[in-house]
């Protein structure tokens, strides 16, 4: 039997259902795992995604033809059974399960195991073939407990606040920014957000996700309000004139890459906090094993290293070419999120 999901120049493709998964080119029909821009591109005829991803996709891609479904809801196309299962990556993120002629394939998109307070928890989906990401697929990447990181961020902010210095957190505008808002104790101090974060906050609220009130930086006329305040912005704002409004301030980057001292220094921020919406080394291994898959494909990240490691551990694995980028050290225009 030929492969149920293959890599084509347009994207990952399921031939019997004639549908693309997270395509990187315009195609007639696409299923989308989540709304980060390396997984959800413009120009497709129709999109299918989870209910929570729908407003996010619209905020990102404009007026598109999009249908949404619940997790575990079965859709049958040409005898192929398709369903979405929580990936725990960002709100509305899903793994795509495809069943055809008794074989089950699962495409993970991006995923993590930690509960983040805004996404539905990751759900292990048994399958014959598992297509995994490996953004942080090296044993070096082992995340500290997120609660500990939130405490560190809180302490950093409070110290800055006591000195009258604003705290600027650089984080992905979709996912990470909301995760921070959900976990930091912000009841007694206003939090300000960059426009890109504001847009994503509104889209998340439209998806039914509860977030604390924030103020848009551009709506503030009196710069004195920023004194000692917390500001959340995408990392693309780092080093730009946008920061000039904030009098004395300190910056910090919130990203899985901050585990690397090199990345931390290179990014020129005052602090780096290690927090990722991607699975770390241990989580990747646990999930791959947990699916019971007899064959694994790896789409992005440290693909060759991770697949070699799996092969040596008795799980046949290979690289599946894709154009996904995973979490990046800087959020840029073309791949604003991942």
């Amino acid at each position: 039997m030929s492969d149920l999901i293959i890599s084509t120049p347009y994207g990952l493709y399921c031939e019997p259902a004639d549908i693309f998964l997270d395509p990187w080119q315009s195609v007639p029909k696409a299923i989308i795992t989540h709304a980060h821009s390396d997984h959800a591109r413009r120009g497709c005829g129709s999109y299918l995604c989870h209910h929570h991803a729908k407003p996010l996709l619209k905020a990102r891609l404009g007026d598109i033809n999009v249908q949404s479904v619940e997790y575990n809801e079965k859709i049958i196309i040409n005898g192929v059974t398709i369903s979405l299962h929580p990936a725990g990556h960002i709100p509305g993120s899903a793994q795509i399960r495809i069943e055809y002629q008794g074989k089950v394939w699962v495409f993970s998109g991006d995923y993590k195991l930690h509960h983040d307070g805004i996404s539905t928890n990751f759900e292990l989906t048994p399958c014959h073939v598992f297509i995994s990401e490996s953004t942080f697929g090296l044993p070096f990447f082992q995340w500290p407990p997120p609660d500990q990181v939130f405490q560190e961020i809180q302490r950093w902010w409070m110290k800055n606040k006591s000195e009258g210095v604003s705290s600027i957190l650089f984080a992905y505008s979709l996912g990470k920014a909301q995760r921070l808002l959900a976990h930091l104790q912000i009841s007694d101090s206003p939090v300000f957000v960059h426009g890109a974060v504001h847009t994503m906050n509104e889209a998340c609220k439209a998806a039914g996700i509860k977030l604390p009130e924030t103020l848009r930086v551009s709506e503030v006329y009196d710069n004195r309000l920023f004194k000692g305040a917390l500001v959340i912005a995408p990392s693309s704002a780092n080093g730009t004139p946008w920061l000039r409004r904030f009098g004395p301030y300190r910056t910090a980057i919130v990203s899985g890459w901050m585990a690397l001292r090199g990345a931390r220094r290179w990014q020129a921020a005052d602090r780096g906090f290690v927090l990722s919406d991607h699975a770390d080394w241990n989580a990747l291994n646990a999930v791959v094993k947990g699916t019971g898959a007899g064959k694994v494909f790896v789409t992005h990240g440290y693909t060759e290293t991770f697949s070699r490691w799996l092969c040596e551990n008795g799980i046949p694995a290979a690289v599946l070419h894709s154009q996904y980028t995973g979490e990046q050290t800087t959020e840029t225009e073309t791949a604003e999120e991942s």
Binding site: L138, P139, F140, F141, Q142, P144, G239, W257, A259, L260, R261, G262, A263, R264, R265, W266, D270, R271, G272, N282, Y302, E304, T305, R308, W309, E312, Q323, T325, T329, T330, T332, T334, A335
Partner: protein, 534 residues
């Protein structure tokens, strides 16, 4: 250990000098005396003996983490730093099983382990320590074990921090911490707190620094009040002889007397109360050796006899700021030069030279002097007003420097590799090639010169246009042309192309050029002919 690991991380994360000083001062104030002493020892490059070869450490860490050695090595290629890699691959222990030892206790453990004969016994001990530390502490421990702890703190900064913490004058601290001492035999009180005689005699003057010559200069029309010198490509330094003691200070406010034994005779031949300003140069057969060689000399911890004869250092004096115990910085330059000339002549040593002074009547003569620079190994000219005092810091007006233009070529990007250190995680180490007939041959590696935006853009492009990966290196489609600037060119048997560029860096991304328009190896060889080996 926890506090020191914290200090290491915070120092690593900030490039703000004041913050670094504060962090070190805070640490020194709260640490016990033994830890204070060891921290100062580590900051000044003293270290416990190395436990084992890094190959062994890699194997131990692989076993401890249950990973194959190849995977540890792959990971190392991405992370870029071995100590950090090994700290990161070992799972963190829970808070309650943590080792509570202090810095000096840890160092004594390292000494004990180092003295063990049996490698498997060493492995057992090191593994046990790894398992008892947090990730941050493991990083510092690994670096201590491998003798590779670099704290990125200059002597000057450390001195300021100690001054901040204990209110002892800076030059006194410099003299104490830069002298001979051993953390295994001395105490913090003896080293830092006990006052000594002659504590103040090492005090240097602030250097007077020149600005680059401006394009539109009126010196051109009035050269009479100016003198011209070659600008030497060495290390700016100050030599002090007071009360029969000699001190050599380098530009970074570091006391480096020990590094230059060939100048120690000056202690006996310079009169008491003399301070000279000039340049430390690697020098052989009446010519400076390349700066690369001087760096090699500086980089070595121990000065072997062969190194000293391979790369001898001299002092090229061009100013005198103290004479017969008097500060003469306000005397006009011409007078100071006269005193200096007389002094250097009377010392009459090949290790103390007087930087030649030239006069020009026309700008053409100045240009002529400039044309001599490549031949005599200087990096340009200095223009100084004859009646100028010796000023403090960087001042415009009386002294100007005029550097030679660096060379440039257009070359093609052919390989990329993940950056180490501050650029780990991005493809930032590039290899560039020029044409030899119909082939591209690599001629230079360059790491710097692009903006962060350009690096991100190029990183993406490379990831999409990788032809092949071998180990950490990717070959990429020959497509992008970059202008490389470099300081010189030399013959090289180590490079396939037969030439090596000195200090190559990216000066511009030539998106307007196609690969065919890049330079050829013939162009480089022609350049080698005209400039000679520098």
């Amino acid at each position: 250990m926890k506090q020191f690991a914290e200090l290491f991380e915070r120092l690593d994360q900030t490039n703000k000098t004041l913050e670094k000083i504060q962090l070190i001062a805070d640490y020194l104030q709260q640490a016990c005396d033994e830890d204070k002493l060891w921290a100062i020892a580590l900051f000044t490059g003293r270290k416990p003996p190395r436990i084992a070869h890094t190959t062994l450490m890699r194997q131990w860490a692989a076993r401890c983490a249950g990973l194959p050695v190849w995977l540890v090595e792959e990971t190392w290629h991405t992370v870029g730093d071995l100590g950090e890699t090994l700290a990161g691959i070992i799972p963190d222990t829970s808070e309650n099983n943590r080792n509570q030892g202090t810095l000096h206790e840890m160092i004594h453990q390292i000494v004990t382990i180092q003295s063990l004969k049996d490698d498997s016994e060493k492995e057992r001990k090191v593994t046990a320590i790894w398992k008892s530390l947090s990730r941050k502490e493991r990083l510092v421990f690994n670096k201590l074990c491998a003798g590779s702890l670099r704290l990125g703190v200059s002597q000057g900064l450390l001195v300021k921090a100690i001054h901040h913490a204990f209110q002892i004058p800076e030059e006194v601290i410099s003299r104490r911490i830069m002298g001979q001492w051993d953390p295994f035999t001395t105490t913090f009180k003896e080293l830092i707190l006990q006052p000594g005689e002659n504590d103040n005699i090492a005090k240097p003057y602030p250097f007077y620094l020149a600005y680059p010559l401006e394009e539109e200069t009126d010196i051109k029309n009035n050269l009479s009040g100016w003198l011209i010198e070659f600008k030497w490509d060495g290390i700016r330094a100050q030599i002090i002889q007071r009360k029969k003691e000699l001190f050599i200070w380098s530009r970074g406010e570091e006391l480096v007397t020990d590094r230059y034994p060939e100048l120690h005779f000056l202690k006996d031949v310079l009169p008491d109360g003399t301070v000279l300003d000039g340049e430390l140069l690697a020098w052989k057969e009446n010519k400076p050796l390349s700066f690369q060689l001087l760096q090699k000399r500086i980089g070595r911890k121990t000065l072997t006899r062969s190194l000293l004869s391979e790369i001898p250092v001299i002092f090229m004096a061009y100013d005198i700021t103290e004479w017969q115990g008097l500060d003469i910085r306000n005397k006009p330059l011409s007078e100071r030069k006269e005193i200096l000339y007389g002094l250097v002549s009377s010392v009459h040593s090949p290790a103390l030279l007087y930087s030649p002074v030239m006069n020009a009547e026309t700008w053409d003569q100045v240009l002529h002097f400039k044309s001599l620079c490549k031949g005599n190994g200087s990096e340009g000219l200095m223009l100084k007003k004859t009646n100028s005092p010796y000023e403090t810091g960087r001042k415009k007006g009386n002294w100007w420097k005029w550097k030679l233009d660096p060379f440039t070529i257009d070359a093609v990007l052919i390989y990329a590799q993940y950056g180490h250190g501050r650029r780990a995680g991005l493809l930032t180490d590039y290899t560039f090639a020029v044409w030899n007939e119909h082939q591209l041959v690599p001629v230079a590696k360059a790491y710097s010169g692009l903006t962060n935006e350009e690096i991100t853009e190029l990183d993406k492009w490379i990831k999409k246009h990788t032809i092949e990966k071998f180990g950490p290196v990717r070959s990429v489609e020959p497509f992008h042309v970059f202008e490389l600037a470099f300081e010189g060119i030399q013959q090289s048997t180590r490079h396939k192309s037969g030439v090596a560029l000195r200090f190559p860096r990216i000066s511009r991304w030539r998106k307007d050029k196609t690969v065919r328009e890049a330079n050829t190896l013939q162009d480089l060889k022609a350049l080698l002919q005209t400039t000679g080996q520098i």
